[in-house]
Every structure is written in structure tokens, then in C-alpha cells.
Amino acid sequence: MKRVSLYAAVCLAPIICIFLSLCMGRYPLGLSDVMNALGNVPLWTDNSSFGINHTIIWEIRLPRAILGAMVGACLAVSGVAFQGLFRNPLVSSGILGVSSGAGFGAALAILLFNTVAAAYPFALVFGMLAVVCSYLIGRLYRTTSAIMLVLGGVIVSSVFAALLSFVKYVADPYEQLPAIVFWLMGSLASARYSDILIAGIPMSIGVIGLLAIRWQINVLSMGDREAQALGIHTSLSKGIVIFCATLATAGAVCVSGVIGWIGLVIPHIGRMLIGNDNRILIPVSLSLGACFLILVDILSRIITGAEIPLGILTALVGGPFFVYLLKKTKGGDW
């Protein structure tokens, strides 16, 4: 019974947050306006005739909220997965160089093709490439030990960070550079349904894969030797976890740029709330990550008429909240 209500909360919370997000924004819309607009689903009616309220709800707030939920969920869940896999509660999606690889790929695409459209596949490919490089460096000593993998990730991250700086250096300061910088900062501002469809594929595959394999993440966090002795095909399972987590992260980075902090804070909040069992932690983090990013995005939209990049807000909101939680739980047990 307890478990049923937990899962009900896990499912309902993001839906409530999405609805909340539909009701809030710079443009003043009352609850009845929102409900009216929601009543006219544009799929089977001509959407041009409904006017501005309809556009705001269906073209601006809803895609944004959905995308925010997906990105938040992806970053949080892959954070949990990487933490479990590397047996280190302080790693996040950034480890293995996924974010910096994807960031570099996107910047390179903007530099080469002068359009942000090419950034999507490039971010994905380079995010994957970063993981492969980290993995190969980790294999130098013919082991897949976590420490070597993390070290490989650190090396790859810094190489890609340097390459990114170089791309920024040679980019056109008037046209390309602002695009690259804003892309890297992360924004859901231009969310469209097509983004949800395109980037949704890698994100969904990644998250569903991690949900499916979440029990094995528990066992993998016992370390390679014990996991194998417990019957896990460690290299296969680790490969799947890394692949899925990378896919989810790179997909998220594709649509929203690099948003830091979520992959670290949300898993910890989850650990504090319901413990470390990934069977429950992964769905809960998914839900928390989705809610957190929707709420942060609401803030980013209503504080000013301008767009505040999400990375700034996730850090400003997530940081103090994290400190508060650490204090409340005395830091000892997550």
C-alpha cells in the first residue's frame, strides 16, 4: 500500500508541476483562461483561430514544461545511475565527459554549419565519443575499475573543455559565439513539439533502459567482484548503464544545453527522502528531477522579462536547498 501511494506520488507530482507551469508566466492568464485554452486541443482543430491565450498555453508553456520535465528527469536519473555505477555519490552526468563532449559537439556544429540544427546530432555523437574515450582510457590497465573510468572521464572532460574553448575562440564573436554561449548555458525558451519528438527518442530510450536495469545498478554498486559473484555480467551491464545514461544526458544537453547541478542534487535529495535502493530511487529521482526543472523554469520565466539561463538558477536554487537538506539530515545518512 505504501509502495502504491509512493508510485502514485511519483507519477502525479510532475503532472501537477506541468499544470502549475501552464498557469504561470509573464503573460497574465487566469485559471479560467488556462482551462479554456486547454479545452481546445489543437490536434483536431485549427489552432490559428484561438488567439493569444491558446498560443501561450499550447505553443509556449506546454512544450516548454514537457521538455523541462524530460530534461530534468534525464539528468537526475543518469546522475543516479552514474553514482551507483561508479560507487561515488559525488559524481554526476558530467562525469565521463558526456556534458563537455556534447557541449563541444554542439559548438563545433554551430561553428561549421552556422546553424543550431546541426548541434543535435553532433552533441549526441560527441557525448558518446567522450564516453568511449573515457572507457578506453579506463581500459588502459585492462580493468574496468571505477577509479580508472572516472580518471578517464576527467581527462576526456578537460580535453573537450579545452576544445570547446578553442571553438569559442575561433567562433564569430557577433553571430556564432552568442549562440554557442547561450546554447551551453541551457534554455528551454525555444522548446517546440518537434524538439520533444527528436530529442525525446534518445532521452526516452536512455531513461527506460535505466528504469529496466535499475536493480542491477544496486548490485553493480557493490563493486565489480561482488557484482559478478552475485551473478551479474558486469561488463555487459555496465555498458548498458553507461550507454543509457549517456544517451539520456546527451539528449537532454541537445535540447537544453548544459544544465549543471541537477544530476548531483536531485539524486541526493532522493537518497535523503527514500534511501538508496535504486529500485525506488530511480523512479523517485525521475519525478523529482522533472518537478525541479519545471519549477526552476517557471522561476526563470517569471522573474524577469528576459530569459535567465537555467544553469544559473539550478545552481542558485539547488545549492542552498541542498545545504538545507544536508543540515536537516545531519549529513550522515543520505
Binding site: I213, W215, A229
Partner: protein, 273 residues
């Protein structure tokens, strides 16, 4: 049919020979003690049996079947493992740790069911630490942790358990608690245990409990001797194995049973001379 059969097995890292032409077998209800000084290759031999490494040559059978190509899941349904050192990272609850022992019996994307969780609780009950079930296992003492690891091995429902120095780092009381738990499990369930240990006395202990016990003295990559503890453990073999002078005494416990005990006396300074 022996549960574990190893004939003329060898293993080396790169060019460094770790052991060669090792042979032994383990029967149902038997405790096989692997005794030898630090760095003699005990852990590597256990790793090969567990499938972490592969023997380079020789015969390796589990339940009479050639086990060289067994997948981890198949090995894990035959052999459970109690590690020497368990590095604790996340504060999982004790029952969550024990439930992980069910992994080998689950499908690839399957999570443990209610039945698996019940089994974990029963194993904790059996080991006598059910009260710790909801504790974060990071808060346990070394001895309690070792009991949890044994409980985890128990729910794996394997005929064989491999223990790598299960009483290292434990105080007298917990050393005995662990020994007693092992004794009971072997007697009750007919489990077989392969155990690496620094304490030759453990072999005498098990023998005194009427458990079929064999012992192998392992040094420099080979077995110096193997067989019944009574017959092969004496002052000479200890001198050869550890380079020490030792006395073997007999003592009688409250029930009137006798138990041999080795007392290390002094090191031998001029072994080579």
C-alpha cells in the same frame, strides 16, 4: 560427484606465474581450508574458482561440468562469495544488501519479488541479526557486516560458499560467532565451504565439530600438502609454510571433546642455512 573439481590448474599474470598444477576437489558438506602466508596466491585461486579470472590450463569442473565458459549468472547459482573486505559506499539498508543475493535467480531486467525479500528476512533471522534489518549497513560493526555478507551468500541458495578470510579484522567474540554460524550452516544445510584463512586453528575447530574438513598448505604457487588437518599439520609443515617454530597442543573443552591448537613460538632466522 564432487561439487568443485580442479586438476593441474595453473594461472599467471602476464609472465608472472601465480600458481601451477594445483589440484583439489570439494565434496558436499565439506569445508576446504586454504592456508598459507600473505601473497601466496590464495585470493587469486579463489578468484579463478569464482570466474573473475580464468585458469590458463588444467581441468575446472563445477557439479561435474566443465566450468571454464560459465557465465557469471551460472557460476553465481553454484557458488556464493563472502569477500574479505567489503567497501561500503551507499548506506543501503541491511535487508536491501541481503536481497542482492537473489540477483543470480532473476531475469536480466527483473527486480526482486516479495518472495525474494521474504527470503532475505528469513536469512537474517537464521543468522540471528533480524533486528538489524532496517539499519543502514554503513553503521554496522565489522563483525555484523560479516554476518550480513554471510546472510547474503545464504539467500543465493548455492551448494558452495567461498569465504576469503572471513574472520580477518574481527575480535575474539565475532570470530567465534562467525565460526559457529559456518559450522551450523554446514551441518544443517549440507553446504560446502571453501575458505582462505590465516589461521590454521580454524581447520582444527571445524574438525572438532565433526565436519568433514580438508586443508591445503599453499605456498610459492603450489600445495605443499593437502588432506586431513590431523595428518598434515605438524611442526614441520608449519616451519616450511611460515618459517616459524610452533607447538601443537591438545585441549579439552567443557563437553569433553578434544581440539588441537597451534601456538606460534618464534620465527626461524636462518631458514636458508
Amino acid at each position: 560427484m564432487s561439487l568443485v573439481t580442479i586438476r593441474d590448474a595453473s594461472f599467471s599474470y602476464e609472465t608472472k606465474q601465480i600458481f601451477s598444477r594445483i589440484s583439489f576437489s570439494v565434496e558436499k558438506g565439506e569445508i576446504f581450508c586454504l592456508i598459507g602466508p600473505n601473497g601466496c596466491g590464495k585470493t587469486t585461486l579463489l578468484d579463478c574458482v569464482l570466474g573473475f579470472h580464468h585458469f590458463h590450463s588444467g581441468k575446472f569442473q563445477l557439479m561435474g561440468k566443465d566450468a571454464a565458459g560459465f557465465r557469471p549468472g551460472r557460476v553465481a547459482r553454484l557458488i556464493a562469495y563472502v569477500p574479505q573486505i567489503h567497501e561500503r559506499t551507499f548506506p543501503y539498508l541491511v535487508r536491501e544488501i541481503v536481497t542482492m543475493g537473489r540477483s543470480a535467480h532473476l531475469g536480466f531486467f527483473e527486480s526482486p519479488s516479495r518472495k525474494d525479500r521474504t527470503m532475505a528476512e528469513e536469512a537474517l533471522e537464521r543468522i540471528g541479526i533480524r533486528h538489524l534489518s532496517s539499519c543502514p549497513y554503513t553503521q554496522l560493526s565489522g563483525g555484523e557486516l560479516q554476518l550480513v555478507m554471510i546472510a547474503r551468500a545464504l539467500v543465493q541458495e548455492t551448494p558452495v560458499i567461498i569465504m576469503d578470510e572471513p574472520t580477518a579484522h574481527l575480535d575474539f567474540r565475532y570470530e567465534l560467532v562467525i565460526m559457529e554460524v559456518i559450522t551450523e550452516l554446514v551441518k544443517e544445510r549440507g553446504l560446502s565451504v571453501i575458505m582462505a584463512t590465516h589461521f590454521p586453528n580454524h581447520a582444527f575447530y571445524f574438525q572438532s565439530k565433526q565436519i568433514q574438513t580438508s586443508i591445503a598448505l599453499f605456498n610459492n604457487g603450489r600445495f605443499l600438502a593437502a588432506g586431513e588437518p590431523e595428518s598434515i599439520m605438524d611442526e614441520n609443515s608449519l616451519r616450511e609454510l611460515y618459517g616459524i617454530h610452533a607447538d601443537i597442543i591438545s585441549l579439552t573443552d567443557a563437553d569433553g571433546k578434544t581440539m588441537k591448537h597451534i601456538i606460534p613460538v618464534s620465527t626461524i632466522k636462518d631458514m636458508d642455512a
